[in-house]
Symmetry: C2
Subunit: 416 residues, 2 copies
Amino acid sequence: MEKYVKKTVKAARRNSYQLSRLNQKVKNDILCRMADALLEHKIYILEENEKDVSAAKKARIKKSFIDRLTLTEDRIFQMSDSLRAIAALPDPLGRTLKGWTLANGLSLKKVAVPLGVIMIIYEARPNVTSDCLGLCFKTSNVAVLRGGKEALSSNKAVFKVLSRAAAKAGLTYAPFFLVDRTEHELVDKLLKENEYIDLVIPRGGENLIRKVTAASSIPVIKHYKGVCHIYVDQYADQIKALPICINAKCQRPAVCNAVETILVHEKIADRFLPVLKTALAKEKVMIKGDDRSRKIVKGLKKAYASDWSREYGDLTVNLKVVSSVDEAVAHINLYGSHHTDSIITDNINRAGQFSREVDSACCFVNISTRFSDGFQFGLGAEIGISTDKLHARGPMGLEELTTYKYIVEGDGQIRI
Amino acid sequence: MEKYVKKTVKAARRNSYQLSRLNQKVKNDILCRMADALLEHKIYILEENEKDVSAAKKARIKKSFIDRLTLTEDRIFQMSDSLRAIAALPDPLGRTLKGWTLANGLSLKKVAVPLGVIMIIYEARPNVTSDCLGLCFKTSNVAVLRGGKEALSSNKAVFKVLSRAAAKAGLTYAPFFLVDRTEHELVDKLLKENEYIDLVIPRGGENLIRKVTAASSIPVIKHYKGVCHIYVDQYADQIKALPICINAKCQRPAVCNAVETILVHEKIADRFLPVLKTALAKEKVMIKGDDRSRKIVKGLKKAYASDWSREYGDLTVNLKVVSSVDEAVAHINLYGSHHTDSIITDNINRAGQFSREVDSACCFVNISTRFSDGFQFGLGAEIGISTDKLHARGPMGLEELTTYKYIVEGDGQIRI
């Protein structure tokens, strides 16, 4: 196993140098060929996927998991489209981020370059395999993928089809790797290879992410969970506030940017809370409240201290009455997950204070928290969302898969 | 100890929210008052420093260490000046790094904000205390400082003077912290507080940095060592190449951006190596060579495999003859520390290839490696140098002490 790990990471590093020399046009052509190959070999991929799905069914794994695991013709079309969309995106490499010239004649440029080798650890979705390979390839990063073992046949099939397409297009080295051995300790060993792997991105549930982070000596970019808030301010337009709250909770409650707690200013709580409660109840949302909101709206369950930092991931929401923006901000910074929080207000000062003081990746004004997403931001892609503060924060697109170097030119200068 | 750690980091996080509300003008005024206070209390600081210095002398600690530990009136003037210089620098916070509007009316801004809490771990230089406090304060980050125990009296004195100046200027909370307890396990405990500390910057020798990195669950930005190269290409202007090599090795051999290995293209090795050898010998440099260079220049010591990745930190240098830029690049990427490497050439293609393919924070063309430094880059400050690829690479100034958040404004948009 030791040998397999070293062999893999050394090859990944070596190939990353080759990949970084490939120009964007060539890479985009290859991405399109990879997209074609997915369609061409869809029967094979579906057959291999069927093996995983029936094994999962036999093992009585829960339905939502099997849903994520299952590929259909339609999903393969989407995977193919998504590779083509990545090919069409602008090149994030080679951008001059900054440039200046000094009095002594030195000319400095800060230029965007690939990170090198990126390891992505994920769970059951086989479409993540092609998406991540595509995003890493586009940015000249060598991807080292490790998917859930329940999806191994599917991942191997997708990987094989894409690898062959790249080879057929003329690549003489592997531009991406799939860790297809399933020993558990393998991942822990890979996570110590900080000389060869530059970044780890875990995608999945909080447990997976905590395990990866604890075991890794390589930098990890992640978000543990999405405990998002909406604060309905005293100066909110309640006509707008209501659909925003409903949208943020109900449109897709299982995802990280759904709202978990709605904070309401005391000056409008008497009017707004009953309306909100009726609307939420109509959508079958289970509502928990603090003492103040339970006085205004009867029949709410009590929200306990631990509820304020829970990511429900379902149709449950907390309500709380607050006396000021300060109180709202303090609550969010204490209990939130620094992901996405939205204020509903028509008052520009309140909006400004909230945006400045809430310590989250995304501070929204008068919109649903559900917009926190790389595609919704117009980034054209998303490799993940970060609630970390180093390197990347919030939705991560292609630019977040680059680092920079300084290129400094002179004509013989020495330091005095 | 547990209690002390929690109390410190919680206060640091809390105060970071307060500090982030302070405007730049107020902060700059306070920085100037801090600069004044250092001068005003220089006798006190020198007295406290004298305690450390005489203890170190008694313990027969080596001279270079005592040099770094010793404060003089002149050094205190420099510390004061440096705070004033930080006050004069442009504000890196609040910059809109990017902004755009989407078809649905959402207006997005990516805005520079403080990181929050930064822990700095360093060794014997008491001037690091005031420099780091100044840089963190300017960027509204709460600094948690842990200096070497040999400098504790000096650090406490500097810290006390600066804290009092900040309090006198009206700050009602501590804008920075000094860890003044010396238990060894204390640092390890602090390094696990990833909820309260956002970034760790270790400054010092490779041993210290490796220990901090291994123990930390907080992101660390660092450079282990500086194994820097100069590659003298076939098309080098040898008149320029010679002083560059001498400057890079001899001007200050103990620092990380001094050169350790000079690679020379085979086409000019016969002419250049003897001249280089003479010039280096004149500066009392000890020269080690590979087999090819030892055939051209007699009397060189042999460079062993392990020498190629050593940071000498003194007047020792390796010479090696290479057959191509490819070979030079491969050598540098294999043995170097991804810090700073310079090509000497008049050929634009060679310069381009070197800059693109050398995987280092700083790729230089026709200049001494000694320019790799925040001040030399014109950043106006330097908190350290990073050979990491995440967040910051190369010399780190004020901008590298910031992160960003997305502020997204709309007027009632929900996701469909």
